[in-house]
C-alpha cells in the first residue's frame, strides 16, 4: 500500500491560494490520487481525483508530476469556510493487487484560514 505524507498543518489568509503537497513515493501503476475534505463533526467529502498531469474542477486543482511520486492540491482564493482537514489518499481499489482497505486516511493536513 502506498503510504502518503502530508504537512500536519498549514495557515493561510482569506483570498490567498493554498497549495498542499502530498508525497507518495511508492505509488503503484494502477493507483489514483484522491483528496477529501473533512469539517469538524462531519464525514469526509470528496474534493478531487487524478491519475497524472492536472485535473481541475469547480472547487480545486490537482497537480501531479510525471513521476507521480507527489501531488499538490491547490485551493484558489480560500475563505474562512475552507478551514478543514484535507486528506490525500492513494490506491487502486479494495482487493487490488492482493491488498485490502486501500483507502488509507492518514492524519491529513489541518488548514486554518484566517480573516
Amino acid at each position: 500500500l502506498a503510504k502518503t505524507t502530508q504537512p500536519i498543518s498549514m495557515d493561510s489568509y482569506e483570498g490567498q491560494e493554498v497549495n498542499i503537497t502530498c508525497s507518495h513515493n511508492n505509488i503503484a501503476t494502477n493507483d489514483y490520487i484522491t483528496w477529501y475534505q473533512q469539517f469538524p463533526s462531519q464525514g469526509p467529502r470528496f474534493i478531487i481525483q487524478g491519475y497524472k498531469t492536472k485535473v481541475t474542477n469547480e472547487v480545486a486543482s490537482l497537480f501531479i508530476p510525471a513521476d507521480r511520486k507527489s501531488s499538490t492540491l491547490s485551493l484558489p482564493r480560500v475563505s474562512l469556510s475552507d478551514t478543514a482537514v484535507y486528506y490525500c489518499l492513494v490506491g487502486d481499489g479494495l482487493g487490488g493487487g492482493g491488498s485490502q482497505g486501500n483507502l488509507i486516511f492518514g492524519k491529513g493536513t489541518k488548514l486554518s484560514v484566517k480573516p
Binding site: P44, G91, L94, G95, Q100
Partner: protein, 113 residues
C-alpha cells in the same frame, strides 16, 4: 436523496455492553464501508461490503461484526464494548470500489466507559 444516514448520533456504553450502529444509503450503491476515527487521527477501515450478503474485513475488524442483508443497510455490531472502541464511526458508500467517490454519513460518536 438523503444520502448516507447513521443512527444514533451519540451513545454512551458501559464496558461489556453491546450495540448496533445503523447505516442506510438511498443511492443504490453496491459498496459500503465502516470506518472509525480516533481523536486527531485519520480514518481506519473496519469492514466493507461489495453487495448484499458479501462482507470482508478491513484494517481494524477485531471487536466488530457486520451484516449486509439488503443493498441499503449495513449495520455494525459491537458485541462486548471496550474503552478502546471509543471513537467516531463513519459509514460510507460508493458506486464501485476504491477509487470511486465515497459518500460519508454524519458519523456516530461512541463513548465506552
Amino acid at each position: 436523496n438523503a444520502g448516507v444516514t447513521q443512527t444514533p448520533k451519540f451513545r454512551i456504553l458501559k464496558i461489556g455492553q453491546s450495540m448496533t450502529l445503523q447505516c442506510t444509503q438511498d443511492m443504490n450503491h453496491n459498496y459500503m464501508y465502516w470506518y472509525r476515527q480516533d481523536p486527531g487521527m485519520g480514518l481506519k477501515l473496519i469492514y466493507y461490503s461489495v453487495g448484499a450478503g458479501i462482507t470482508d474485513k478491513g484494517e481494524v475488524p477485531n471487536g466488530y461484526n457486520v451484516s449486509r442483508s439488503t443493498t441499503e443497510d449495513f449495520p455494525l455490531r459491537l458485541e462486548l464494548a471496550a474503552p478502546s472502541q471509543t471513537s467516531v464511526y463513519f459509514c460510507a458508500s460508493s458506486y464501485s470500489l476504491g477509487q470511486e467517490t465515497q459518500y460519508f454519513g454524519p458519523g456516530t460518536r461512541l463513548l465506552v466507559l
